[in-house]
């Protein structure tokens, strides 16, 4: 339930309100932050599907080819899930660092599959700066989003809603 709600909200935010922020071409990637949150805190099959669907929805709304973001988000979830086994401490700084790395994973994955399947040459050249900036923005937002999600989760648990 929370997955669905959060997913809808994040997609809605990312396709509308977040464009209001004065960040130039950079749109804060809340979808990525949500996937990382799920990978770190709720590694379930539902979260796996949620990540895939979030990536897929980005493809539906933005990508020229279906599957690009679905692949990237699934990979991000997998990477975070695997690394979460080694992460014992949870604090805002660490969550920001994980999101930063996840953003790079996503960016590199997009470049690789873009080069492989879409035969786009020279993607590396101009896009690295944007990956870095996007990773930075996502990392900065991560602690606040994580905290918000934890509060929402706690609220729903207290209201005895199925999670």
């Amino acid at each position: 339930m929370l997955f669905l709600l959060a997913g809808f909200l994040v997609v809605l935010l990312q396709t509308t309100f977040l464009h209001l922020l004065p960040l130039g071409p950079i749109v804060p990637d809340l979808i990525l932050v949500l996937c990382v949150y799920w990978g770190l805190n709720h590694p379930t099959v539902g979260a796996v599907l949620g990540s895939f669907l979030l990536g897929y929805s980005v493809d539906v709304f933005s990508s020229p080819v279906l599957g690009l973001n679905a692949f990237a988000m699934s990979l991000v979830f997998l990477a975070v899930y695997l690394s979460s086994r080694c992460i014992w401490i949870h604090n805002p700084l660490l969550s920001a660092a994980v999101v930063f790395c996840a953003s790079w994973v996503k960016g590199i994955a997009l470049i690789l599959v873009g080069t492989l399947f879409l035969a786009v040459d020279g993607l590396w050249m101009g896009v690295l700066k944007y990956i870095f900036l996007e990773a930075l923005v996502a990392a900065m937002l991560a602690p606040a989003v994580f905290s918000l999600l934890r509060h929402g989760q706690r609220y729903l648990e207290e209201a005895r809603m199925p999670f």
Partner: protein
């Protein structure tokens, strides 16, 4: 086997999703993906939400734009105010330069009419006392200024050098009670001495009762005092009063020069006699 799957269900699901997305991508990239069952559903589901959100975004953008415009206008206003101040200062400076230029041109014209050896000087300070009418020039003996030299402006006579240092000279103005300029009435050639007065306007002394003098008559230097060259305008007769007794008439003079407004003057060689 089932236990393995259950234990690693997240990992397996993740791998499956990665593989599945690669399959979708591969099919889509080769144009083999004919139907997308989830995409249209997602679009339909999100459509009303996005329409509502987009309307809010449009409103917010408008507010943002207005705020930006307002801020832009405010800063533009500040910038233009600053520019106006700068231009006003520039205009004042140019007007001042123009006025100075005009005065210097007049001085040059006057200089060409005066005997050679005259030099231009600038007033650097005014009298510090109510009792005396004087000012100080920026030229002194090092520049050739000597005591007793006449000081004139393009409009008329200003005064006489009474003290000189190497780099400055003190000028006693014609409005000072201690000064005296030998003048003649231009129309009737009647003679007299124009001197300042503490009480009011300067007066023309020693004008005989029999002399023909009228209000409005122009008074010019006679050149006989050996200080002022002949023919320079001193002023005009403002008031004439003949008393029933005494040898002289009472004549008030309106000076051609307002000493308080003089900024540049010509210092005329005292040794040069009248023309």
């Amino acid at each position: 086997m089932l236990a393995f799957v259950r234990r690693n269900q997240v990992l397996l699901a993740s791998f499956l999703c990665v593989l599945f997305s690669l399959l979708i991508l591969s099919a889509a990239a080769r144009g083999r993906l004919q139907r997308d069952p989830i995409g249209p559903l997602l679009l339909e589901l999100m459509r009303p939400l996005q329409i509502g959100a987009q309307a809010t975004v449009a409103k917010l953008k408008e507010i943002q734009h207005r705020y930006g415009t307002f801020r832009g206008l405010a800063s533009e206003n500040d910038r233009l105010k600053g520019r106006i101040t700068e231009l006003e200062a520039e205009r004042n400076r140019l007007l001042e330069v123009e006025a100075t230029n005009r005065r210097f041109r007049e001085l040059l014209e006057l200089r060409s009419q005066l005997p050679s050896g005259s030099l231009t000087a600038t007033v650097i300070s005014n009298s510090a006392s109510t009792w005396f009418r004087s000012f100080v020039l920026d030229k002194g003996s090092a520049d050739g200024v000597l005591q007793g030299m006449a000081v004139v402006s393009p409009v008329g006579v200003a005064g006489q050098v009474v003290a000189v240092t190497s780099r400055s000279a003190k000028v006693l103005l014609v409005t000072d009670p201690h000064s005296g300029v030998d003048v003649i009435v231009q129309r009737s050639r009647a003679r007299g001495i124009v001197s300042g007065s503490l009480e009011g306007a300067p007066i023309m002394k020693y004008v005989k009762r029999s002399e023909d003098i009228q209000e409005g008559d122009r008074l010019i230097t006679s050149g006989l005092d050996g200080t002022f060259p002949k023919g320079l305008l001193v002023g005009t007769v403002a008031k004439v009063r003949k008393k029933s007794f005494g040898l002289f008439q009472y004549v008030e003079v309106s000076l051609a020069v307002d000493p308080s407004r003089i900024e540049e003057v010509l210092v005329v060689s005292a040794e040069t006699p009248s023309q």
